[in-house]
Symmetry: C2
Subunit: 356 residues, 2 copies
């Protein structure tokens, strides 16, 4: 009864503006196409079969995913080229899932250490699965130092895993000047390519990119781009100056349930928007049609919005919220309602919750 998709949207629900989705996809496809580099969008943002098909239809060479579960979800819907951009630590059961996947899908995974490469090789060596060495270009999350990349690649090759190349996620572009971060990305990847070359291994693929740094990417170094958020954008991209409110293609539609305290209380909260709030964020999401408003409090099912001196939207009316981080919001829903002139159509969030 309650797992089925309802026949029509009920607040709080996610609404995608199809024409904006197309425009966002085309902009990235044009950027990659003009430079002759590959676009391999990160599907963790949408987790949706329908959006994946739009991306592949717009010229993407394949998809990036973060987990084996996401890879399984997209392979089940016919995607035949997947890169798990994550330094997996494999065990027998997870390795078995990858080997099964590789029967129908061109597959690559990340490695970021000699030990990880050896472990992956022990489980996967001899199967048709490639690796890319993850480089830390400044985010200090996972990834090896550029000058150690050759040793990691060598360990992988030695363990029977073909090396496709190197990759990084310049995620510190969310907290620093994106142009400088893109220069650090290029420098780190160049260093890693040289480190591989010194061991006799060619990095055929040099993969980078993120939504905030995308237009700054050094496409003389990077030959594969993996942005994720760009398909929808969100309040973070807006507040970073990367996207305008008109570029935001996904919102959460909520109902005004209360005017308590002279503010607006919406029936969307952290369980439909996510609780992400970066240091630079001015609230818990933004209202694209009321840019002066601020979400000053967020609970699981309440967004409390200060409308400053503006007239409050009436009780029972609908308000659209751009989540701070769209990837987190999408992962809280089973369906995205895509709207165009034909009215709302449900897109399945195929890979929701596929964390492992």
């Amino acid at each position: 009864m309650f797992t089925a998709v309802p026949e029509e949207p009920r607040t709080p629900y996610l609404r995608a503006d199809l024409s904006r989705v197309h425009r966002n996809l085309q902009r990235a496809a044009d950027l990659a196409g003009a430079a002759g580099v590959s676009l391999r969008p990160h599907a963790k943002t949408h987790k949706s079969r329908e959006v994946a098909e739009l991306q592949l239809g717009a010229g993407a060479v394949g998809l990036t995913v973060a987990t084996i579960g996401e890879a399984e979800a997209f392979a089940a819907y016919g995607c035949t080229d997947l890169f798990i951009a994550y330094p997996l630590w494999l065990e027998e059961s997870s390795a078995r899932r990858l080997i099964d996947l590789a029967e129908t899908t061109r597959l690559a995974i990340g490695v970021d250490s000699v030990a990880g490469a050896a472990n992956s090789g022990r489980h996967l060596g001899g199967h048709d699965i490639e690796v890319l060495v993850e480089i830390d270009s400044g985010q200090h999350r996972s990834g090896t130092e550029p000058h150690d990349a050759g040793a990691v690649a060598e360990a992988a090759a030695h363990a029977g895993l073909p090396v496709r190349g190197v990759f990084t996620f310049p995620g510190h572009g969310y907290a620093a000047d994106p142009a400088s971060v893109a220069r650090e990305e290029a420098e780190a990847l160049s260093g890693a390519v040289a480190s591989l070359a010194a061991t006799g291994i060619e990095a055929r693929v040099v993969s980078g990119g993120s939504t905030p740094t995308l237009v700054h990417t050094d496409l003389g170094v990077v030959n594969e781009l993996r942005p994720g958020v760009y398909v929808f954008n969100d309040a973070q991209q807006w507040e970073l100056g990367v996207a305008s409110p008109d570029d935001i293609a996904l919102t959460c539609v909520a109902t005004v349930v209360s005017h308590a305290g002279g503010r607006v209380v919406l029936d969307a909260g952290s369980k439909s928007l996510g609780a992400d709030r970066a240091a630079y964020a001015t609230g818990w999401g933004r209202l694209p049609r009321a840019p002066y408003a601020r979400i000053v409090q967020l609970a699981e099912h309440h967004a409390v919005v200060d409308f400053a001196d503006a007239t409050l939207p009436p009780l029972g009316s609908k308000v659209e919220i751009a989540p701070n981080h769209v990837c987190a919001a999408v992962n809280l829903h089973d369906v995205i309602w895509s709207e165009d002139t034909a009215g709302p159509q449900p897109w399945s969030v195929t890979a929701r919750g596929r964390n492992g």
Copy 2:
């Protein structure tokens, strides 16, 4: 293929310690029982049939939920007494769902304004659904001022909705001294009871409580308690001093995938833990077995943990994380793996994602 519950847990997964769950439930049941007040736990924390059955088995009079969708999920599994502690703004379709629910379940909803009471009455009047007036006791989220409660109750009664009483959520107990907040809760509820009495309406139920304020609740005023988190506890309760690490009954089990930068990278991130981080939090969750460690960076599938000078857990080993906010973490998973001496058993997160 990928919506089914896996046969065994895969990291990152939620693990419940059954004996700690029982102990946490019993402690609250004892507190309520000793004072002769009702316990109506908030099921939004666990969203799970199995945990609801444990709570009802331990003497809870019924369940609290936040949404119609949660109410439907628990009614479908046989709960016959549900309170939707939320100021719903009803439309025809949502009212129909409530009327259907009331056929099998004793049902109450929240109202927090004269307009909301009139709207609910228009849709539900004459059906067997009661209301409780929500009071703002200091959190400044939703709820009416205590002295306005009588007018709201009168509007509900006038619209054909029987008034059961008043309720509040003293959520500011997360940011201020819980004992003071509990005094504000009692004062606000007393004022509201008096406001109802002045209009000739008796507040039979005076409902309050939250996990951090629970032991401070004035049980001379409050006769129904609605804590949620207490069943599991979390890093927030630990850091607030409300629970010890030994009281934390739910953790996310993660695998060490990298030692990049001399730190530990775990395969759990915001998509399995939630991104909640209160002002007082010292990180993005805590490690109960390594209290000196701090989660210094959280991405969707990475928790970067600084172990200070301690030895790092080895690559491939398993680490348990207490999420900052357990309600958010549970809502990201389809299953909680309950562990006792019989080994892991899957509990369904029945009401996951039921936001509307």
